[in-house]
Symmetry: C2
Subunit: 506 residues, 2 copies
């Protein structure tokens, strides 16, 4: 027990370090090497779009589901064996809110870009919602890292601001380098033959690949590797966000892998699975490049998706949870308020685990480890403080963070969770419309602003009922009251905004 007590202290120490700064200094006389940090961010990638199992059985061991058997992601399997993944890692159910949470460490209710950013016009929402994305005065992760000696590189999908707005260019939000990022959220075409475009929706900066058969995912990977090489030449640590446009629609087959897959019931699934495998090849290529350059020991990689799956899979089995589709056995998909819309794969790993590495001794990550649902969860807002701790720099004064560093939890097997709350506020119309989701411990409450009173609430215990099959809102009224009150307080604390014409129930 004494040992665990010490771990608790160490963890709080580590967590607090990012805000106090004072003890983040190296104790040695030499300035300490800083790790390279990579966010490998996959658009629309849900928890089940991989052969790596993230859902555990009753013993807390990973369990293979049919979708895991359908996809082939060997590089992810390798990464999972080297690192530490979470069964439950929350994002928003749509992309821009999640991406801006990753950049700011704040919940979407707080940063106020609560809906996806429409590149062409102001998407509908409450009066003050940030439809125009990240503002000049917002604190962002690349700004802070750049100030602390990092070369900051963005490759791929941006989607931080609409067309012709400042935030359309990732350089505006703190990246030294931007290749491929602009206002669009999807590529129109993944094919170099199409110049990665259709009409005005084109991926910029990739003219060298136009007319070739280079897949967009591959082109971005090549550019990422080039930027890594430039960072070596510059002698600076780098922060690389490789944000693939894949797996977003259009579901064009990737000719390198499409022939491996078939699906009679869902004819788009083979194309989708080929996009998945192309993404996985990118991961493998990136890791190989880092190892070739001798950077594996000093580079930490965070693999994650930005919202639940949009896989064109409608289920081929008769039972209900399978029929739900994209994220089976989870309920729901991208855009919905169920866990299938909000849970994403998350793996943290040193690229090359090495026992003798000073950096890895300082921040150990448990290998081949999964933190199962019984041990809690993490979320996109935790990336900002985690990264600041790795970079050895302070959080900006007065910048509220809706997350905590994960490094304490990632160090050991089945540690207690570092958080027990997650909030997603969505005062907009989409696949699911006008809702707030609040998770606290095992409980999840969903409030629907535009439904009649007797259907306005859903309440689930996700440990007893991970597929959200049993709405307990009526049978557990005291728990519902408690959760509704806690949700309201969390909304108040974030300064949440509401639609005037979609208020709370009458």
């Amino acid at each position: 027990m004494t040992l665990i007590f010490r771990q608790a202290i160490t963890k709080l120490n580590a967590l607090a370090c990012l805000t106090t700064g004072a003890l983040c200094l190296s104790t040695g006389a030499q300035p300490e090497e800083k790790p390279n940090i990579i966010f490998f961010l996959i658009d629309d990638m849900g928890l089940m779009d991989t052969s790596v199992p993230f859902i555990t059985d009753e013993a807390g061991q990973p369990k293979i589901y049919p979708l895991n058997q359908y996809y082939h992601t060997p590089a992810m399997e390798m990464l999972a064996s080297r690192g530490h993944r979470f069964e439950t890692f929350y994002a928003n159910s749509v992309c821009s809110p999640s991406r801006i949470s990753i950049m700011t460490g704040q919940s979407s209710a707080r940063h106020r870009s609560t809906q996806w950013i429409n590149q062409d016009e102001r998407n509908a929402g409450p009066d003050g919602w940030r439809w125009d994305g990240i503002a000049a005065d917002q604190v962002t992760l690349p700004k802070v890292l750049r100030q602390n000696g990092y070369r900051t590189i963005h490759i791929g999908k941006g989607h931080y601001g609409p067309l012709n707005s400042p935030a359309a260019d990732p350089k505006f939000i703190g990246f030294d380098i931007n290749i491929g990022g602009c206002s669009i959220g999807s590529p129109a075409s993944y094919s170099g033959k199409d110049n990665y475009r259709s009409g005005i929706y084109h991926v910029p900066h990739l003219e060298a690949y136009h007319g070739t058969d280079t897949h967009l995912t591959d082109a971005l990977t090549i550019e990422a590797c080039k930027q890594i090489d430039k960072s070596i030449a510059d002698g600076k640590p780098f922060f690389l966000q490789l944000a693939h446009y894949a797996l977003h629609a259009p579901f064009q087959p990737d000719p390198r892998f499409a022939d491996k897959y078939s699906d009679e019931a869902d004819p788009l699934m083979p194309a989708y699975a080929s996009l998945v495998e192309g993404m996985d090849k990118s991961l493998g290529d990136l890791i190989s490049h880092l190892e070739d350059k001798g950077l594996g020991e000093n580079t930490i990689l965070f693999f994650l998706g930005d919202n639940g799956s949009d896989a064109p899979y409608h289920g081929r089995k008769s039972n209900v949870s399978q029929k739900i589709g994209s994220s089976a056995p989870l309920r729901g998909k991208k855009g919905t308020h169920y866990d299938g819309g909000m849970r994403v794969p998350f793996i943290a790993s040193w690229v090359t685990p090495t026992a003798s590495s000073a950096l890895q001794k300082k921040w150990p990550l448990a290998q081949n480890q999964i933190t199962s649902k019984e041990h809690g969860f993490a979320s996109i807002e935790d990336l900002f403080p985690t990264t600041l701790e790795l970079a050895g720099c302070d959080a900006p004064a007065g910048h509220p963070l809706d997350g905590s560093s994960m490094l304490g939890v990632l160090a050991t097997a089945n540690s207690a969770s570092m958080r027990n709350e997650f909030l997603m506020h969505f005062p907009h119309a989409h696949r699911s419309s006008y809702f707030t989701v609040f998770r606290q411990g095992p409980w999840k409450i969903i409030y629907h602003y535009n439904k009649p009173a007797d259907q306005a609430y859903e309440l689930f215990n996700l440990l007893d009922d991970p597929t959200e099959a049993h709405n307990l809102a009526r049978s557990q009224p005291e728990r519902l009251k408690h959760m509704a009150a806690s949700m309201q307080l969390a909304l108040n604390q974030a300064g949440a905004q509401y639609m005037k014409d979609k208020p709370i129930l009458p």
Copy 2:
């Protein structure tokens, strides 16, 4: 169960109303009358400085302790019989942070006036702490109420900014009227014969009482009643904060009541008890005046203290909890991190409960009701949203609130709590120095930034151990880890600031 379910919906409706605004409109054709709202705020008044029992027994019934038997507060007894009080109502353990939380609805970690404001100089603290009090651009309750048709009146102690700073005058923070408020936190003398002053520390605006035997508490009450009359003449609803300098030191006997009390062991106690009774007389006089003017039905009063007791009582009995003093049986007093330093009396009541009152039908308050510790707690941050709901106005967009409206809970007997967290962050030196306290459900964790590792944490279960006698930090390591992580997340969410030279443990 259906009934309770409906209550939950009604409560969330009521809570959300303050942020959406849309459904706060009256359903009738006529604009609805707004209630008058009074904060009766007593300086340094702890939970036990009254004959009204706030602590309950195992059956949830109020239990009389020796301190309740020592004091005489008949007006408070009357108010308690008319209204709804909380056994557990949290404030900060020092005054300015609490007062600014009441004005802003934000925790002190968020508004950043984390220490009492030294009127003469910058009090020590982290770089960016708001030692100069409320800034021009801060959202405050009286500003919002004034914009919504209220006459806003401050009588008594201000202490919102240091000498010669803008916030030294309560008018700067949104009050139309200020009588008696300035930079000082204590009156130097309560006697009109002394002109309520000693040297430069004098209470302003009370020249009419100089040289008389009018006690300061009485003078402020007379002025409050005059302002109520002016509000009637103006035809506007009023928000009155009657913020007594009492019970703050100096502990001068109030000659009207001093002879009633004796205490050989603690010779200052009779003087202190006379200040208490003088404060109570003020409450009675104010209620009488409101009733004489026919305002009792439409006026809601919130009685509260701003931090734990500073009573000069050291205990005369041999058991430990009694020896602790001022707040016995609670542990600790003003300035400390124990509940005796952080819990204050709170009573919410319509001045004259009237079944036929339209306003009281809209916002019923349970009478002669105590919400016991088993049913949760509330805090100073809840006053802002509660008051906005009563005033029928929105919370300002983008202003985070660390509280929720209490009206749903106050309406019924032993309702579920509306909150299960409270944070007090104190990166300063005082009676207790450099600590953070975080309450979540029954658990309370205290972290000491400047103590050795084996003494840095305290952990209590306040339902099992309301006197904080048994530190469980070592015996419950998993709970400690969970609470430490939740505390760190709450600090991150508030954007808390830390002393560079008093960081977290090495």
